[in-house]
């Protein structure tokens, strides 16, 4: 690179770095002096803006909020719970989560059992009605001896044949009908 260009790029880089430090917080919130650490006026920030600032500020940066002054480093230190407190907290949360999960599981198991039980109870009641109705039908004559069904089937066939039967065939049909009538009487009809 040409020496002049190198000097130019170094200068631009330095200016940009300076600008970045200056704009670490919105313009009016940072009042860094030429020698001291930057100062952030947090009163004028949203929580999200402050969180973004915390990513960039050096530990020495001074933060002012509602008349209180602290440093970014102190806030970061407070962001970590003391080890013993953190351990107790973590265990307490884990224990509570576990207990909650167990209780929820138990409640679901009970609800599911109740639901399935209700489903079965309804089905049993319906089935009892179905069986009663079935018995009533059987007694009412809807069910018949198997021979009756065979007779009925053959009678249907005879009926079909009779529509186009010759006199000779009609005589045969008549004869067969007589036999079926006798069978009917045997099955109690």
């Amino acid at each position: 690179m040409h020496p002049k260009a190198r000097i130019m790029s170094f200068t631009i880089g330095a200016v940009l770095l300076g600008l970045m430090l200056q704009t670490a917080a919105p313009g009016p919130a940072v009042a860094g002096g030429p020698v001291g650490p930057p100062t952030v006026k947090a009163d004028q920030m949203t929580r999200r803006q402050f969180r973004e600032q915390m990513k960039m500020l050096p530990d020495t940066a001074v933060i002012e909020f509602k008349g209180r002054r602290t440093t970014a480093g102190e806030i970061r230190a407070k962001m970590r719970l003391p080890a013993n407190v953190a351990e107790v907290r973590t265990k307490a949360v884990a224990a509570q989560l576990q207990a909650n999960a167990s209780q929820a599981q138990a409640r679901f198991a009970a609800a599911r059992a109740k639901f399935l039980q209700q489903q079965q109870a309804k089905l049993q009641a319906d089935n009892a009605k179905a069986m009663a109705e079935f018995t009533r039908l059987r007694q009412g004559g809807a069910a018949r001896a198997p021979q009756l069904d065979a007779i009925e089937q053959e009678a249907g066939q005879l009926f079909q044949r009779s529509k186009t039967a010759s006199p000779a065939e009609r005589a045969q049909i008549e004869q067969r009908a007589g036999q079926l009538l006798q069978q009917l009487q045997q099955v109690g009809r």
Binding site: A42, R47, R48, F50, R51, M54, K55, F65, I75, K78, M79, R80, L81, V85, A86, R89, T90, A92, V93, A94, Q96, L97, N100, A101, A104, F108, A111, R112, Q119, L123, D126, N127, A130, E133, F134, R138, A142, A143, R144, A145, P146, D149, I151, E152, Q153, A155, G156, L158, F159, S162, K163, A165, I173, E174, Q175, A177, G178, L180, L184, R189
Partner: protein, 292 residues
């Protein structure tokens, strides 16, 4: 002569009467006497297995009983069947052979097997198949109700919109946001259908509260049935309701719907405040059928 004429007239009348009536009787079966008597006692018009009536006195559901009336079923034998066939598209179409309890001529009693799963609720029709493998007409349409199951909606099927107002925010086991230097101390819980954990490392500036949202959609006959929830809230050194962190009761859950949106308000606006919760959504639908 007059006598002869009268007899002749009577004979002619009788002959004409026979000629007129013969076609009529032929149309009605063509034969009188025994055949007419037979048809008075039984239904001579029953051709083949013919389902006439399905007795509607119970749900058509697995483990339920049904009765079919008709004629021409024949005697029971190998090959005698009662089928119930639904009209849902595959693979959730019902096509089941019932367990025959009684088969008596014109009346069949049968049981829908208890292990019929993987089918949705659907209109269905019965068919009788005789021992000679002759299938009947289709019955009237009935509504088949699948066996119902109830289960927990998996977290993977719930979409979350996680509020990121705390220093570290997790929803459904996924980190939505975090702050450098914030060393959160809690475990991530992925129990239930939806969960969230919010942690505030410092309470210097602003409020740490937000609203998380969860949505889920069900298909294939599944609907939301019930919801349950649990929470854990903590301050810096202890957990409980008195620590300042809060989780409000989830709102928006609606039962008997196929879509739900649940929102939860939370607050961790205190030093090392923690708010975590789990939501359990229970869904109900046809057993063995996926819910999405």
């Amino acid at each position: 002569m007059a006598q002869h004429n009268r007899v002749s007239r009577i004979l002619t009348f009788v002959a004409l009467l026979v000629l007129v009536l013969a076609p009529l009787t032929a149309e009605a079966g063509g034969i009188g006497g025994a055949f007419a008597d037979l048809c008075k006692k039984i239904d001579c018009t029953c051709i083949g297995p013919n389902v006439k009536q399905v007795m509607l006195f119970s749900d058509f559901t697995p483990n339920g009983y049904v009765a079919i009336k008709g004629c021409g079923f024949g005697s029971y034998g190998t090959g005698s069947k009662l089928r119930l066939v639904g009209d849902a598209p595959a693979p959730y179409k019902l096509d089941v052979t019932l367990e025959i309890k009684e088969w008596q001529g014109g009346l069949i009693g049968a049981h829908i097997p208890v292990n019929v799963t993987g089918v949705t609720d659907q209109p269905a029709k019965f068919y009788v198949v005789t021992k000679n493998n002759v299938q009947s007409n289709q019955s009237q349409q009935v509504q088949f109700r699948a066996a119902q199951d109830i289960k927990l909606l998996p977290m993977a099927d719930v979409k979350s919109w996680c509020s990121t107002e705390a220093d570290e925010d997790w929803c459904n086991g996924t980190k939505a946001d975090s702050t450098p230097f914030c060393f959160a101390t809690f475990g991530i819980s992925t129990d239930g259908s939806a969960s969230a954990q919010h942690y505030t490392c410092h309470d210097w500036i602003g409020d740490d509260n937000g609203t998380d949202e969860f949505q889920a959609t069900l298909t294939k006959g599944w609907v939301f049935h019930d919801a349950d929830w649990t929470k854990v809230t903590c301050g810096s050194d202890q957990c409980g309701d008195y620590t300042g962190s809060t989780v409000s009761t989830p709102v928006g859950f609606q039962k008997d719907t196929t879509w739900t949106k649940v929102t939860v308000d939370w607050n961790t606006n205190n030093y090392h405040g923690y708010a975590g919760y789990n939501i359990y959504m229970y869904i109900i639908g046809p057993a063995g059928v996926p819910h999405k």
